[in-house]
């Protein structure tokens, strides 16, 4: 009833939807970089959306299943294979004991998720099973996975032993949520009005490239630098994921899942929650445009995503009961 890590990959961590309620202690949310993909993967295997799963970057890890399991892959496409057979994204897949999961090449996206029915049998810390890499606590021993780790599964399927690899004949379509031509949208924030006119123009008119010095804490953006009319030194204040900070050098930083709880750089705004998944999957080296939207539009875009997820959840539950695989 477990999974063996054959290769650790660049950074494989245990994540759910994150740890809230402890930011006033300086303990950040953490959680999946792409919360949409995490939920989709979980629904496909019949889990609640926030069930703990494995988040993978490329070079990807490799695993051996030591027991049968119902899994799904979501988010980035790293060319998954079991016994030489290509595995589709966004589809429930039965695997048997002894099977090895490998990833061949990076095809699209930055963060891939492996969801398993029942999730992993690891204890929560402060209401979440997400790994807090800074505190080195939570998740799997507070760290990224290492070769030789054996992760216990929460659910066992002894009756599935010897039944082989079974790939369901349906999958979900998520293309709209990841359309790369749509700008990343943000709600203008506290210091946006202080942008000089040419900087305000540059913020919207140029393609921002995600720097290689980007990680789970933040995406640093390369482009023509921006200037504010005031360079008043600011007292630190509480921060949210998606905050677009402007350090003195003029290159913005978008805060991601492992961001600090407080900070003192000027804030141009916050990336809307409906675009978190898409931004996370762009990753270093990719470029995008920023577009300011009204708060009401941000909320309705997020509500649309919520409707999609609720329908998907219901559909997946029915499909699993109906045994359409």
């Amino acid at each position: 009833m477990s999974i063996l890590v054959l290769n650790k990959g660049l950074q494989t961590t245990v994540q759910d939807l994150g740890r809230s309620g402890y930011a006033h202690f300086g303990i950040n949310r953490a959680g999946a970089m792409d919360p949409l993909a995490l939920q989709v993967g979980n629904f496909l295997v019949g889990n609640p959306g926030g069930t703990v799963a494995l988040e993978m970057c490329f070079p990807a890890p490799a695993f051996m299943f030591l027991a049968p399991a119902l899994i799904a892959l979501s988010g980035a496409d790293f060319g998954a294979q079991i016994e030489g057979q290509n595995l589709p994204l966004h589809t429930p897949i039965w695997v048997d004991a002894g099977m090895e999961l490998h990833f061949r090449h990076k095809q699209a996206g930055q963060y891939a998720y492996l969801s398993i029915q029942g999730g992993l049998d690891i204890p929560p810390w402060l209401n979440s099973r997400s790994t807090n890499l800074k505190a080195q606590w939570g998740g799997w021993q507070g760290r990224a996975l290492l070769k030789g780790d054996v992760l216990p599964l929460a659910k066992s399927w002894p009756e599935r032993i010897g039944r082989g690899l079974v790939i369901a004949k349906y999958h979900t379509l998520l293309r709209d949520f990841y359309a790369s031509e749509t700008p990343i949208r943000f709600v203008p924030g506290q210091h946006y009005p202080q942008l000089l006119p040419e900087s305000r123009k540059a913020l919207h008119a140029q393609a921002w490239r995600i720097s290689n010095a980007s990680d789970r804490m933040g995406y640093r953006l390369d482009g023509e630098g921006l200037t504010l009319s005031s360079n008043e030194s600011l007292l630190s204040a509480g921060l949210t994921r998606g905050s677009i900070q402007l350090p003195p050098a003029g290159q913005p930083i978008v805060l991601m899942a492992d961001h600090q709880t407080t900070g003192g750089y000027p804030l141009l705004g916050q990336v809307i929650q409906a675009d978190w998944a898409r931004l996370a999957q762009l990753g270093p080296g990719r470029s995008f445009y920023l577009q300011a939207v009204e708060l009401a539009e941000a909320v309705s875009l997020y509500a649309e995503q919520g409707v999609f997820l609720r329908r998907l959840k219901a559909g997946c539950a029915l499909a699993l009961i109906g045994g359409e695989y």
Binding site: S20, Q270, A303
Partner: protein
Amino acid sequence: MPLGGRGVSFYPTFMPPHIHPLGDQGLLIDWGNRLDPGIAQQVQACWQRLQALQLPGVLDLVPAYSSLALLFDLDYLLKNYPQELPYALVKSWVEPVLAASSPHALATCSRNLDIPVCFEVPHALDLAELATQKGLSPAAFIQQYCQTRYQVYMIGFLPGFAYLGTLDDLLATPRKTTPRSAIPAGSVGIAGAQTGIYPLDSPGGWQIIGRCPWRLFTPANDPPVRLQMGDWVQFYPISSSEFMAQNEHPGT
């Protein structure tokens, strides 16, 4: 404005805060960009009131020097209050609390802590240099530093990292021009008019004057951190042997 009293012994000027959205995730209650013990008291009072109210759909309250960030669960609010714009709804819950937080209504709970610090080598990485800069002996520097009771203005940067203020003008020193790549947990530092204790091994640019034997962040404890917003802290010097006897840091 007096600073250094125990708890609330003075009436600060009342400053009505400004509220603005933090994207679609919450709102910031903002008293302006002012480092002022009176404002810090108001932040703390509002924070404690809002905590006690346990507003539905509120995930996090993050108090800081002169602001309080409130982060909500957009899913929850959309599901339970479908007719309302979440920001406007939560703002309408918060406003009466702010109105009730006038200076005379301030009744905050704060704790006083006395914290041991070893100011000897090898812990006091920058103390000798700082003392020389200020024209003080290390002993006089330590005495001056330990005279003041400091207020926790904010927790941030690392789990349990408390920003304490305000340092005496004589002791205030800018951060190091080149940050150190590794500072051991418990190290006590100075940055500008702030002082603080590193709860974890971490890179950092603060001027290190000593080390506290306590663990400020213990993940398995509830709460996992030792210091909280609003606490008052006074340091007292201990010797190397006392440090060894009280040392809670693993592997040292």
